[in-house]
Amino acid sequence: MTPDKSDVLYGTLGLMVVKTLEALGPLHGYRIARRIEQISGNQLALNQGTLYPALLKLEQMGWISSRWGTSETGRRVKVYALTRAGRKQLAREEAQWQRAAGIVERFLKIPEGS
């Protein structure tokens, strides 16, 4: 593990998964993990295994659904897709994150001595 990679910010993995599924459509676990790593420009220290509990949580909440399918390499894999509830939830969470990030950003922009 390279030291300059940052850990996944707490509570963001689910959002990343959902956003990835929204952008790329149904995917299996390995592809999701790889997409997240690629999108982060390989800056994220993702333990790929942690993806699975996150997927399970999302499925429990009904935001994604799963079914068995076949990967591009012909393997039997579980394919995850965004549900309607997940789409709605994503919109909400996105807005929340934008706001939260905006607030943090403003603090970071406070010039010294003001």
Binding site: G29, N47, G49, P53, Q60, G62
Partner: protein, 878 residues
């Protein structure tokens, strides 16, 4: 909200398909790793390196699986089911422990549940009246003649009602002899009489029809209320019973209402209730039970103070011979179950709880021993990362599983036991018929089972906590000692068991001794081979002389039956609560009028011979003591002592009533021995017997028939036949051996005694098992030490003495503590004893010896085993 529901449903599904989901996850991770490895190969790594890299980028596979499992499960449920499975497996692996512990606890739980159901029904459940705590019985008392709980005359009750302010209302009632004429002749019925306000005082409504009005009572109208039981039996519960007419005591009487099921008051439980007026003009006459409702907020004590003052004022206004009356206010609930059965029940309840404590102590001790043996297992689990709380929970789960198991068996035992108690319990214990398995009782069983689970689980759990959880060299070796704290706890448990057992044993011993005294009391008559038969006269015989004639003819006929040796008549053999009467007796110093509590009965000449009561002086009645001859009487010793102290009563005269009242004088012609007709535990009252032929006969009498036959009941038919030959319409109340009648007096004592004896034997057995288990275990863990002792020269006898000594020291310590407790408890319950002191040395000594013998026996087997330890084997290090 919807999300939560989704999560719940998902987890529920996951719970059912746990295995499938585990497999799926494994497959999924497998594919993931394969895909990743393939990509690494494409990047140019060797297959071996690619697989390793894939694993590295994935992280820990088992951890991921575990986290997933946690995410999808109800964590606590999963853990619980794992604990449960583990507990069941552990219990199954140790059948000896499981069976012993479960059987012990089940017995204790069952016994406690039965006892609780009895205490609940008899003592705790409120009486079936409105606001029963406001109801009290009012009694006439006279300390001078040792009269307690005396019934009262209507005139007195009227005075009380007028003068007192404590009560909303006062009502009177009593059972009265009642004959019912039906299609097939006359029969005896359970009848009673009530003042018209009784139902409103009790707050009870007829379920059909109405109560009596005051007018009906005043005009003595022939109206009756019937019991629910009678209504069901005679009318099949049909509503047209209202308005129907029954011939009661020869008088057509209209049914105006039906009482609720189970209606009874203070032991008076009748099928036919008639009204009686509440305000008679004159004093005296029949006496009644009195029940009153206190005004809200008025305490029993306050009412008692007021009534005592009223009694004093009445005393001042009344003539001398009527004085000295007190009035007692007794809460109804206290009267219904008197202080003695109450105390007995509480003591029995405490006793059975002691049995439970001993059982719990035993099982605790067992599981402590096992806990010590499992020290290694616990240590290993701790080393693997289980924290203390986790281990305690595991142990508690185990003991709760055990408790549930024993609880279920115990409840079954209780159901069976309650049936047994209802079948064999004493009829004299009030409300016993209300004992049943209901929710309260089941709740009690569950509570006891859970309590036992916690108690039994807690001790090993506590020691498990305290013990150093790391495996030490010593504990992994042969000298596992079980930890000194567990050892101390087990020793104190054994001491406590013996202490409790001895308390119970002494209690049982004292009761057994009392019982022995009671059944060996000289009741003053010989009940062997004597039959008691009650007969009544048909209502047509209104002239008393006709009744007398009928009785004497029946007597003649009965005496002619083969197998009959002697037969006698008395009006009422077992009078429960005789009234006090004014009597004037002639002594050396002249005639004295006094008030005395005595019974006066009409008897036939052969009565004393039939009863086997000895004639001490003078003569019994003869055929010449007829209505036209001078009036004669026979007195018993108690009467002779009371009225003619140190004088010969024969030839003396007395009369009922004051000296100048003009009542006829009786001349005493004989003195007979005392008869304990109120039961063997009550001393004989003064008794006066007059000749049946010289007095107006009552409506019903008892025939005493001494037979030469051993088949008493076989005689019954011949006797019935003899009565019918005289008068087809004379109702026969029943034929029963006299001993059976006496038996009901001692039934309650027998019930208490056998229960407590049973409990204490169980307790002793359990204590013995306890000391046996402890010693056995102690030897098993000290084999090495014993071997060492023998190797350096200890004799086998020394070892034997050492082991037995250890067990005896514990049991004797327990015994000494127990003896102190028993002495204290015996004094608290001394009112239950009869003819034996609370500190009876014989009982104490016997029990102590018995206990030491049992303890020694329990130590013998392990001691023998210790004695035969082979020192070479014991010392060989493995």
């Amino acid at each position: 909200m919807i999300t939560r529901l989704r999560i719940f449903l998902f987890r529920l599904r996951a719970l059912v398909r746990a295995r499938q989901m585990d497999r799926d996850l494994e497959d999924e991770i497998g594919s993931h790793l394969a895909e990743a490895a393939e990509e690494y190969i494409r990047q140019g790594l060797s297959p071996e390196e690619a697989r390793r890299a894939a694993r590295r980028s994935f992280g820990g596979v088992p951890q991921t699986q575990e986290i997933c499992r946690q995410v999808r499960s109800f964590a606590w449920l999963e853990e619980l089911s794992r604990d449960l499975r583990y507990a069941l497996r552990t219990l199954r692996k140790n059948p000896a422990f499981t069976v012993t512990a479960a059987a012990t606890l089940a017995l204790a739980i069952g016994a406690n549940t039965v006892m609780f159901s009895v205490v609940d029904a008899v003592l705790l459940r409120p009486l079936p009246y409105r606001a029963p705590e406001e109801l009290a019985m009012l009694w006439t008392e006279d300390p001078a003649i040792n009269l307690r709980e005396g019934r009262s005359a209507l005139w007195d009750v009227a005075q009380w009602r007028e003068r007192s302010e404590s009560f909303v209302d006062i009502a009177t009632f009593d059972s009265v002899s009642t004959l019912l004429t039906g299609a097939d002749g006359v029969e005896q019925a359970d009848g009673a009489s009530m003042s018209p306000n009784l139902l409103s005082v009790l707050g009870v409504q007829p379920i059909l029809g109405r109560a009596f009005s005051t007018d009906e009572a005043g005009q003595r109208q022939a109206v009756i209320l019937i019991s629910h039981r009678f209504w069901q039996a005679r009318f099949g519960g049909a509503p047209d019973a209202l308005g129907a007419t029954l011939i009661v005591n020869g008088l057509p009487s209209q049914i105006v209402g039906v009482l609720p099921a189970g209606f009874a008051i203070a032991g008076v439980d009748a099928d036919l209730w008639r009204p009686h007026p509440a305000r008679p003009a004159v004093r005296g006459g029949q006496t009644w039970f009195v029940v009153a409702r206190l005004r809200p907020g008025v305490s029993d004590g306050h009412a008692q103070t007021e009534m005592s003052a009223i009694a004093r004022r009445l005393d001042d206004e009344l003539p001398a011979e009527a004085r000295n009356q007190g009035i007692a206010v007794v809460p109804l609930s206290l009267y219904v179950v008197g202080p003695q059965p109450r105390l007995a029940l509480w003591l029995l309840g405490a006793a059975v709880f002691c049995v439970f404590l001993i059982a719990a102590a035993n099982v605790t001790s067992l599981s402590l021993a096992r806990g010590a043996a499992r020290a290694r297992e616990m240590a290993v689990r701790a080393a693997l990362g289980a924290n203390a709380g986790r281990l305690v929970r595991q142990l508690l789960t185990e003991s709760l599983v055990l408790a549930v198991l024993s609880g279920s068996i115990g409840t079954l035992l209780a159901v069976w036991g309650i049936r047994l108690v209802r079948a064999f319990g004493p009829a004299t214990l009030p409300r016993l018929n209300e004992v049943s398995v209901d929710l309260r009782v089941l709740g009690c069983a569950i509570a006891i089972a859970l309590l036992s689970g916690i108690v039994v689980g807690l001790a090993p759990a506590m020691t498990a906590l305290r013990r150093d959880l790391r495996p030490s060299g010593e504990e992994s070796g042969r000298t596992v000692s079980g930890g000194s704290s567990s050892r101390r706890m087990r020793r104190s448990l054994v001491v406590a068991e013996f202490a409790l057992a001895i308390v119970l044993l002494v209690g049982a011993g004292l009761l057994v001794r009392s019982w022995w005294h009671v059944i060996n009391v000289d009741v003053g008559f010989d009940s062997e081979r004597v039959l008691l038969m009650g007969i009544s006269t048909p209502p047509a015989l209104t002239v008393p002389a006709e009744r007398t004639a009928l009785y004497l003819r029946v007597l003649e006929e009965v005496q002619a039956v083969p197998g009959v040796e002697r037969a006698g008549i008395i009006d009422d053999l077992f009078t429960g609560n005789p009234r006090e009467r004014v009597i004037t007796v002639e002594r050396n110093d002249g005639a004295v009028t006094e008030r005395a509590r005595l019974t006066s009965d009409e008897v036939s000449p052969d009565f004393f011979a039939a009863m086997g009561t000895p004639l001490l002086r003078g003569r019994v009645f003869s055929a010449t003591d007829r209505i036209d001859a001078p009036l004669v009487a026979i007195v018993n010793e108690a009467m002779a002592r009371r009225s003619w102290p140190r004088q010969d009563p024969v030839g003396r005269r007395f009369t009922f009533g004051a000296r100048d009242a003009g009542a006829p004088w009786f001349t005493v012609v004989g003195v007979v021995g005392d008869m304990r007709r109120q039961g063997p535990e009550r001393t004989a009252l003064p008794q006066v017997f007059v000749s049946l032929a010289q007095s107006p006969a009552s409506r019903s009498v008892n025939l005493l028939i001494r037979t030469s036959s051993d088949d008493l009941l076989g005689m019954g038919d011949a006797l019935r036949e003899a009565v019918r030959r005289v008068d087809r319409n004379a109702p026969i109340v029943g034929v029963a051996p006299l001993e059976q009648q006496l038996g009901t007096y001692v039934a309650q004592r027998r019930f208490q005694t056998s229960l407590l004896t049973g409990f204490s034997l169980v307790a002793l057995l359990m204590a013995a098992v306890g000391v046996y288990g402890l010693i056995q275990y102690s030897i098993a863990t000290r084999t090495r030490e014993i071997g060492l002792r023998m190797a350096i020269g200890a004799q086998r006898a020394d070892i034997f003495r050492m082991v037995v000594g250890e067990g005896l020291a514990l049991s004797v310590t327990g015994a000494v503590i127990g003896l102190a407790g028993a002495w204290w408890l015996g004094r608290a319950g001394s009112s239950l004893l009869f003819g034996v002191a609370a500190g009876d040395p014989l009982t104490f000594a016997t029990v102590l010896l018995l206990l030491i013998a049992v303890a020694a026996a329990a130590c013998y087997v392990p001691a023998r085993r210790a004695m035969n330890v082979d020192p070479i084997r014991a010392l060989r290090v493995t």
